[in-house]
């Protein structure tokens, strides 16, 4: 008897939450979940929340006649904390979608959870290609960049310049592995070799031991398959140990405007890097950059601009679908072209990957920089079809072959 009662109760609960989601509860709520206090706090952080707010304002603050609300939280780079927050947002705060999701371990965890709940995630902060590969989701989208694009961009540029033997310093979690694997494969496909690698814990402060191993490996290129403060520290300390003077080159595989600003042009000059956005690329991007600067005190990198684009596209998809239901919105997101300050003629592939152009950039010398935040020269535009994995070969089972 009790068992029956319990079952009935559980069914009641289940049906009532489902009803809530369909009814859209009078508003559309977007959650920006990322690292706001750790090594990636400048990479995305609170500024991504501002970018989301800008997108909502530019859209008019309302969609389908109901207000759009943006909330935010700090996941501290821990997948378990992130999952708890996501669950709480979905279950008790009627959040309709979660975005940004810096850190690959977090991105994968929250995307999997959201797949269960049939909620949209648009990832702009995490890098792993797994998000749109084997672990892809009908409700999961990957917007700004990924490890494949970084490998093709920065890795490709260095291989072309003769860097055919590589040693990797890799952050010891999903993102680092993915970046090392993608770049390593790219190097090998182009006739190069990978002579070794070492895995370091996230948020390592002292890289000297690892750098010494890289130095003695004799590799022509030291690939930094890490991000944020870790990469900055590694570059700074590499200079100390005379690595670049010794003839080895550094490949900062994931390095954005935010980290260049932290490191300073003196130490960062000459680095080659790949981003999906640069504020000083044309008039429109510069205008967006200055607006962003007024609100946050800094210029946007690809994560910030990507988050703006993701929120804007999400709202457009809701409007087109006439509903904020996960299935309907996911369908529209795949159908609508992306044309905004971040992407020109971007389109979303079946596996959830937003395919757009990436930019190969070089950090300017201090005397070449004409104004604050004028840090990059655009070396080349990498067409989306080259930068990102062919969806048919991504390993995602959503793609019909």
């Amino acid at each position: 008897m009790t068992k029956k009662l319990l079952t009935a109760f559980a069914m009641m609960l289940a049906s009532s939450t489902a009803a809530f989601a369909d009814a859209s509860d009078g508003k559309v709520k977007i959650g920006i979940l990322n690292d706001q206090s750790g090594v990636y706090a400048d990479f995305g952080g609170k500024s991504s929340y501002e970018a989301a707010l800008m997108a909502v304002e530019d859209f008019g603050g309302k969609v389908l006649g109901v207000p759009v609300e943006v909330i935010t939280a700090d996941h501290q780079n821990k997948a378990d904390i992130a999952s708890n927050i996501a669950r709480q947002w979905y279950d008790t705060e009627q959040v309709d979608s979660i975005m940004e999701l810096t850190s690959s371990s977090v991105g994968l965890a929250v995307q999997a959870l959201s797949k269960e709940k049939k909620k949209i995630t648009i990832n702009t902060g995490a890098a792993t290609t797994e998000l749109t590969g084997k672990q892809c989701s009908p409700y999961g989208f990957h917007w700004a960049y990924d490890t494949h694009a970084l490998a093709v961009g920065t890795g490709g540029a260095l291989v072309k310049q003769g860097g055919d033997s590589w040693f990797f310093l890799t952050a010891d979690y999903a993102f680092g592995y993915s970046l090392e694997e993608n770049t390593g494969n790219y190097v090998k496909e182009n006739g190069g070799t990978v002579v070794g690698s070492v895995r370091h814990p996230l948020a390592t402060t002292d890289f000297s031991s690892f750098l010494l191993q890289a130095q003695s490996s004799g590799a022509k290129v030291i690939g930094l398959a890490n991000a944020g403060l870790d990469t900055s520290n590694a570059i700074k300390q590499a200079a100390e140990f005379g690595i670049v003077q010794g003839g080895q080159r550094l490949a900062a595989l994931l390095f954005t405007l935010a980290e260049v600003h932290g490191l300073g042009l003196e130490a960062a000059q000459g680095l080659t890097l790949t981003e999906g956005f640069y504020w000083n690329r044309n008039e429109e991007t510069a205008k967006f950059g200055k607006r962003f600067m007024e609100r946050t005190g800094k210029m946007p990198n690809m994560v910030h601009a990507g988050t703006y684009s993701a929120v804007l596209s999400y709202l457009k998809a809701i409007e087109k679908a006439g509903s904020d239901d996960g299935d309907a919105v996911a369908k529209e997101l795949r159908a609508l072209p992306v044309n905004d300050v971040f992407a020109e003629n971007g389109k979303v592939a079946e596996n959830g990957r937003m395919i757009h152009d990436m930019y190969l950039l070089e950090v300017k010398k201090p005397d070449e920089s004409k104004e604050p935040w004028d840090y990059f020269k655009v070396l080349a535009t990498i067409p989306g079809s080259e930068a990102f994995i062919d969806p048919a070969k991504s390993g995602c089972d959503l793609v019909k072959s």
Binding site: F210, L212, Q213, G246
Partner: protein
């Protein structure tokens, strides 16, 4: 060859370990002094280390004051901040359970770090190596940046100097006596509250000194303190809570242990110190140099 790696690489890693050990030793020294004499578990130590580095950076970017003056000015300034904290707040907690001191300093650390993160972001600020110590020399088995050599030498001098002051001078004997029996010492006409303020300020200044030393090596970042503080606590525990010599020796030893782990099994490099701590606590609960209570 040692354990399958060339001797030269091994020596290089040993030296790197010593350099990191220098920071551990300097930081755990300050912690041990504060705990040994004040019985306060100073969780704000990491924040004070970060403040030292930030003061050096602020002095350079706003007043054009370089590394050498900063090496003196920044610790003095942070020492002063420490004295004010002790006078106005920490002092009130001496009569309570040590847990309150721990909670207070922990809260303080979060507040200071949060403020700096708000003001300067998490990516950190660059601080250049002073020109006189730039470059490096080839030791045959490794390329040693001159600045790192300086860090080892300077921290050794400071550690031994501080130990001598506390163990061998009159001021040191007052300090030790004042913590043993404050009422008796006070009755001899010695200003005990002032001595305690001085102790806390000294501990904070030592942390700041380590911060200035670290500035040219690491990014000057609000997070730099919280990254290192837990390790330093482990060092103090392994050395024996409150044992000053224990803190110094253990600092260098654990730096080397961590350095070698980075060669043999890098993935474990951030936990090896805690594994050692667990083993030491099982075998010698009072720590390597601690006296059983």
């Amino acid at each position: 060859m040692i354990f399958g790696i060339p001797l030269q690489a091994f020596l290089g890693q040993l030296l790197i370990g010593l350099i990191n050990g220098s920071f551990y030793a300097l930081l755990s020294l300050g912690l041990a002094i504060i705990f040994g004499l004040l019985r306060v578990i100073n969780f704000a130590h990491g924040a004070q280390y970060m403040l030292g580095a930030f003061f050096a950076w602020l002095l350079l970017s706003y007043f054009g004051i370089g590394y050498w003056p900063a090496l003196i000015v920044a610790p003095l300034a942070v020492g002063l901040v420490g004295a004010i904290i002790e006078r106005t707040m920490l002092r009130r907690l001496y009569s309570l359970d040590p847990l309150y001191g721990l909670l207070f300093t922990f809260g303080l650390a979060l507040t200071i770090e949060g403020t700096f993160r708000y003001l300067y972001g998490a990516s950190g600020q660059p601080y250049a190596t002073p020109a006189t110590l730039a470059g490096g020399t080839n030791l045959g088995f490794m390329f040693l940046p001159i600045y790192r050599g300086w860090v080892i030498a300077f921290s050794l001098v400071v550690c031994i100097g501080t130990w001598l002051v506390i163990e061998k001078t009159k001021l040191g004997s007052y300090l030790r006596a004042a913590t043993e029996n404050p009422i008796l010492v006070q009755s001899f006409g010695i200003n005990v509250p002032f001595l305690l303020t001085l102790t806390y300020a000294l501990g904070a200044a030592l942390a700041a000194l380590a911060g200035v030393l670290a500035a040219p090596i690491y990014q000057v970042s609000p997070l730099m303190g919280s990254n290192i503080i837990i390790v330093v606590f482990a060092v103090v525990v392994v050395g024996g809570m409150g044992s000053i010599m224990g803190a110094i020796v253990t600092g260098y030893l654990l730096g080397v242990a961590e350095g070698l782990t980075k060669v043999f099994y890098p993935e474990a490099s951030n936990i090896v110190i805690f594994v050692i701590m667990a083993i030491v606590l099982l075998i010698r609960p009072a720590g390597l140099f601690g006296r059983d209570v």
